[in-house]
């Protein structure tokens, strides 16, 4: 028998060899160590109290640092009066973002948070890979208004990428398909067999910048469910026209133009009339959450038409999921920036 266990020696190395200790030594040490323990415990409590006070003072004065956002429970944030939620995000949160399940087979036992945004889901899955060496071509440094043409083109690229990567026929299906600006994608995919899965994987991998797979599960009928996520190719800011803030009086006409463009491409958007408005010092942000039952080719045509148009709405999030045989429902989050007056 070959004994070549790679798991074996680690524990032995980690634990120091036991030393023979005389009984008297042990007794004498016991008393000392119990005294030491109680004083150490008191010091530890005091240090913890000081740390807590310092933390609260820090948070009150400087606000919640980025790396702690989402870590501190919302109840604690509310209790300390640190909530920075805008009216728009509050309404979105209460309304509930679309549910995304990672495993796909059981809604009641997801491996990632329900009601989370795409970005949160991706963070939860593999933060180490996801945030390593990311270069977002200064998306966040751009003026807000410049992000609109970028988002329109990115949305079209994302839909086009998945359209081209998906093989014809019934071999591949999507349980969730999501995009979030600037260029994140997330898909929960079902492949009928390993061969189809491999083909799809190779196709998609060749078309995106980052390709990460997770949560592979084989179901009883032999089909394979798995998640893919990462970044797709980004548009270049240098090739995009810069936008302008929309005058408040033009917001409704922009909405009408968006609706018309959608209808012309067989996409009927519901919920356009219920937009959410945030006011900042220099501009207003209009967020519209619309749903549609349009099929994928129609959505792709709509995305293409939108990126070519002068409509001032960008798409900051898109989530699609099946609602029955050959049917799907998509949620699109449009955003527009308007001047205050």
């Amino acid at each position: 028998m070959i004994k070549s266990n790679l798991m074996s020696s680690r524990e032995k190395a980690a634990q120091p060899a036991p030393r023979a200790v005389k009984e008297k030594e042990v007794k004498a040490k016991k008393n000392k160590s119990s005294e030491k323990k109680s004083s150490a415990f008191g010091s530890l409590l005091f240090m913890l109290f000081l740390f807590l006070v310092a933390s609260v003072v820090y948070l009150e004065l400087l606000g919640i640092p980025n790396f702690l956002r989402g870590v501190i429970p919302q109840e604690v944030v509310d209790f300390l009066g640190l909530s920075e939620e805008t009216v728009a995000t509050q309404v979105l949160r209460k309304a509930g973002a679309p549910q995304l399940t990672a495993r796909g087979t059981r809604l009641d036992d997801p491996s990632i948070p329900l009601d989370g945004s795409v970005e949160e889901i991706v963070r939860t899955m593999r933060p180490d890979i996801y945030f390593k060496n990311k270069e977002l071509v200064n998306y966040k440094e751009q003026a807000l208004i410049n992000r609109i043409p970028y988002q329109k083109q990115a949305f079209h690229i994302m839909l086009g990428t998945f359209y081209k990567a998906t093989p014809d026929g019934d071999g591949i299906g999507y349980l969730d398909l999501a995009y979030q600006a600037p260029n994140f994608y997330f898909a929960r995919v079902v492949a009928v067999d390993a061969r189809t899965r491999n083909f799809y994987r190779d196709q998609l991998r060749a078309k995106v910048v980052d390709f990460i797979e997770a949560d592979s599960v084989t179901t009883k009928d032999g089909s394979i469910e798995f998640s893919v996520y990462g970044n797709f190719n980004q548009p270049s800011f240098t090739e995009l026209k810069s936008g302008q803030l929309v005058r408040p009086s033009k917001i409704n006409s922009e909405l009408m133009a968006l609706r018309t463009l959608a209808v012309n491409n067989q996409v009927r958007l519901a919920g356009l009339e219920k937009f959410i408005e945030d006011e900042f010092q220099t501009h207003r942000r209009i967020v519209v959450k619309a749903t549609t039952d349009a099929d994928y080719p129609s959505l792709l045509n709509f995305a293409e038409a939108l990126q070519k148009s002068d409509i001032a709405f960008g798409v900051q999030q898109f989530v699609s999921r099946p609602t029955g045989a050959e049917k799907m429902q998509s949620t699109l989050e449009f955003v527009l920036y308007a001047s205050v007056k």
Binding site: K3, S4, N5, M7, S8, R201, E213
Partner: protein
């Protein structure tokens, strides 16, 4: 009656997990299964844990006392090293030989060595090395919590050698095992003193004639060996591949037999063992638990 320990053997590779539930002391196989995965579960331990967890939840299983994982030789570095007689410290020699035979830092690898015929006067050593990063990922606290941390992590050639020894028995003449998967093929020749030859074939080159080529190459160095090959792995289940290989082999005097049975092992009644030949690595891994 004392309860026998049940060991879960898991064979990982690029495209799937092979699973075997075995009572190794009694040599009793309870069940075997093959599950395709997306991605290589040896490089990404989250695939290993999620697929295994899902499988364990969807099957009614007895209490498992330990888990043994085996990985394809291509995921690590395996070497058969002849030890010169004048060498006094065999381990240092093998370590030096390993460090000088690879083009990366030897410190990045964890290596285990088995000496033959014995550790006092070794004539040969089989070394198995794997990236420390990968070995460490199997030590993670997350796997520990989920109860999926393996107690044994061994290369497939070692576990198949052990399986061959426990089932067929090994003597003075070498016996050959061919394990052909979709992405990698390995063949080795073993006798009672240990493995005597290893041949590997990467995924891009796999074809019946290329597999025959590595068998011919191995037998060329062992002219007295009986030309009988035990054939297991994923490709053994593909009738077209297995038939073509058998025909090619017979024309060259090599009898390639599918390894579908294990003498000295008993099988659980009413269980499905149609994938037995694909799961030999997983079964062999459980022998590490003895």
């Amino acid at each position: 009656m004392a309860a026998h320990k049940i060991c879960l053997g898991v064979e990982t590779n690029q495209d799937g997990l092979k699973i075997a539930l075995v009572e190794p002391e009694r040599k009793h196989i309870i069940r075997v299964d093959a599950i395709p995965t997306s991605g290589n579960s040896i490089n990404d331990v989250s695939i290993y844990s999620s697929v295994l967890n899902s499988w364990m939840r969807s099957n009614l299983l007895p209490k498992i006392s330990s888990i043994a994982v085996t990985f394809p030789a291509c995921n690590g570095i395996m070497r058969l090293v002849s030890i010169p007689k004048e060498i006094q410290d065999a381990y240092s020699y093998v370590s030096w030989e390993f460090a000088s035979s690879i083009n990366s830092n030897a410190g990045d690898y964890k290596m285990v060595v088995a000496f033959y015929p014995n550790a006092k006067k070794p004539e040969c050593a089989i070394t198995v090395s794997m990236r420390k990063r990968i070995v460490d990922s199997f030590h993670s606290a997350e796997l520990e919590r989920s109860g999926l941390r393996p107690s044994y992590l061994m290369a497939d050639i070692c576990v198949l050698h052990n399986l061959l020894e426990c089932s067929e028995g090994l003597g003075s003449q070498p016996k050959c095992v061919l394990k052909a998967d979709e992405k990698f093929v390995s063949a080795f020749w073993s006798k009672e003193s240990g493995p005597v030859a290893i041949r590997l074939l990467p995924g891009d080159c796999i074809s019946p004639s290329a597999v025959l080529g590595i068998l011919q190459s191995g037998y060329a160095g062992l002219p007295k060996a009986k030309k009988v090959v035990k054939f297991c792995g994923e490709l053994s289940a593909r009738a077209d591949f297995a038939d073509e290989l058998a025909v090619l082999g017979s024309s060259d005097g090599i009898d390639i037999q599918p390894w579908k049975q294990l003498s000295k092992f008993s099988l659980e009644k009413n269980a499905d063992f149609s994938k037995l030949s694909q799961c030999m690595g997983a079964i062999g891994a459980t022998l590490g638990c003895i």
